[in-house]
Amino acid sequence: MKKDIDIKSVAKLAAINLTETDEKKFEKDLNIILEHVDALSKMNIEDEEINIHPLGEILNLREDVSSEFLTHDEAMSNSPETEDGHFVVPPSLD
């Protein structure tokens, strides 16, 4: 399974700006890890189930009713930039 990682495209997907030095270091480290985890591809586990909860429990969602948690101001209180109760971001298009 193991294929060499295209670090530039993965960094783009992950939205992390990498320097060339970073790219080299991460490419090397990730290839070491991917080589190690490649052992999994040889396991004969096709019939195993996939559980999202480790104990196989069903996720218990609470009732969809509104209640007092955070106020609007509290929820926005850590944002780097807000205006009139909205988050402010740079333009999404060039």
Binding site: F26, L34, V37, L55, D94
Partner: protein
């Protein structure tokens, strides 16, 4: 009085009998923190004013004979990835260096309602990713037994403060061993409960299907008291389970399995000998001890290093410079995010996000993440089958005692190997505890790990208490005495 040598129940009884006050105990742990911090750097923040105030309020409650609980007035430190209202939660990351939590985690709310004194926030590997605290953006914590050695991680600060006596107990979080491994390295008790028994609401998520909050304490009894104070179903955490306690033998009828694969390659003689010493004591006590094989534990590291980074890459996508944390300039939103994440995250965090992004990307998802989830089910079944034969499993907590700074920072796999014995319990969601057993030739703490079936936490703690008595190891670090 030296409170560092007292258990929570002893302190609580002295409070009730009016022989000791919470403010006196807080003063002592604060003095210990003030003395030791310049050497070990275990705290990111000490809450001196607030904690002094809280201790005086606790004094008054005992004075009136109305304590809120048996842990009222007990000073407890909190790992800095757990939210405490109106305090910073930095996760030891530059990304969250300016974040102030507007709410309490469920565990904090429970402890607050029980009257505990929050002493401060403790250091960790950035976003709980690491095994030595060397990945903290604010500098590493040093091991109180010897500052040339790491305290373990990621909850290194939480383990070090209990070890040195700057808190009576602490909370940590454990994704692949982050409570048990530092507890082992610092000579204290660390307990990872069954997944879902303690609410994760308000714990900054790293790998949601593996993360679990738990206590780090001086004794198993203390761990039991703290665990009972924080456990319970929480509607705010969809993965939280409704309690259905399962009991297994805790006396000499308890049957113990020694995990063959965790006693072989990669395990130091010193770590192995502690398990052998404990087995001998158990046999003398009348317990049956047999060797068992869990071959898939050899695959645990590979499974973990796909699932944890995959979940981490999804969880940490929320740090985008929009809603919280730092922001770096960019001409478009995406450029701003790329620059913010480049500046805000440290190397190990970036590495795991990149690995997880790759494992979840189109064309690789089934081969990597899907295969890892299936392998996780297989390993869980292996545990279920082995627990039909034995009640508990024993192994070393760590392959070696605490290593030195810089020793394992070159090759990522070398550092990851230090979680070899602890990761399987996270994958299977089962409870596991680290109990100190003795000292290495270099006078660094050694320990054993006990695991038991899901939902048998109370039995595991009770059985661990009896093993702790058999071991009768209660040596503490002399760091503070050496300084005085």
């Amino acid at each position: 009085m030296n409170v560092s040598n007292l258990s929570i129940s002893e302190i609580s009884n002295l409070y009730k009998n009016k022989e000791l006050k919470p403010s006196e105990v807080y003063e002592e742990v604060f003095t210990n923190a003030s003395l030791s911090e310049s050497i070990i750097h275990a705290h990111l923040k000490l809450f001196q004013d607030e904690a002094t105030e809280a201790s005086k309020l606790s004094d008054e409650r005992y004075e009136k004979g109305n304590p809120l609980s048996d842990i009222d007035g007990i000073p407890i430190a909190i790992k800095d990835n757990i939210n405490l209202k109106n305090h910073e939660t930095t996760c030891s990351s530059k990304m969250l260096s300016n974040y102030v939590s507007p709410y309490d985690a469920t565990v904090i709310k429970k402890l607050r309602n029980n009257g505990v004194i929050f002493t401060g926030k403790t250091n960790l590997d950035e976003f709980a990713m690491g095994s030595s605290t060397e990945n903290s953006a604010f500098g590493p914590t040093k091991n109180p037994w010897n500052p040339e050695h790491v305290p373990g991680g990621s909850s290194g600060g939480s383990a070090a403060v209990v070890s040195v006596g700057s808190a009576v107990a602490s909370l940590g979080s454990d994704t692949g061993g982050s409570i048990r491994q530092p507890a082992s390295f610092c000579g204290v008790v660390g307990f990872k409960p069954t997944y879902g028994t303690v609410s994760r609401y308000g714990l900054v998520a790293f790998a949601s299907s593996l993360d679990q909050i738990g206590p780090i304490t001086n004794s198993v009894e203390d761990a039991k008291i703290l665990y009972n104070s924080i456990k319970g179903h929480d509607p705010l955490d969809a993965t939280s389970i409704k309690e259905s306690l399962v009991e297994i033998p805790t006396d000499k009828n308890a049957k113990v399995g020694v995990v063959k694969e965790l006693m072989e390659e990669g395990i130091s003689d010193e770590s192995r000998k502690e398990v052998e010493k404990t087995i001998k004591l158990l046999k003398e006590n009348g317990n049956k001890v047999v060797e068992v094989s869990l071959p898939l534990t050899k695959m645990a590291l590979s499974i973990y290093y796909l699932i944890a980074p995959a979940e981490c890459s999804a969880n940490l996508s929320r740090f985008d410079g929009v809603r919280y944390g730092i922001r770096e300039a960019g001409s478009t939103s995406y450029e701003m995010m790329e620059n913010t994440r480049a500046e805000g995250f440290g190397e190990e965090v970036k590495k795991r996000i990149l690995l997880g992004t790759y494992a979840l990307s189109a064309g690789y998802y089934d081969a990597y993440y899907g295969q890892a989830l299936k392998a996780r089910s297989a390993i869980t079944k292996d545990f279920e089958n082995i627990f039909k034969e034995v009640d508990y499993l024993i192994s070393p907590t760590t392959p070696t005692p605490a290593f030195k700074f810089g020793e394992k920072t070159e090759n990522p796999l070398e550092m990851y190997m230090s979680d070899l014995c602890t990761i399987p319990a996270n994958l299977a969601g089962i409870p596991a505890i680290s109990i100190p057993t003795g000292l290495s030739k270099q006078d660094m703490p050694l320990s054993i790990q006990l695991m038991s079936p899901a939902r048998t936490d109370s039995s595991l703690l009770e059985f661990s208490e009896s093993i702790e008595k058999l071991l009768s190891f209660n040596q503490r670090t002399s760091l503070l005495e050496d300084m005085k």
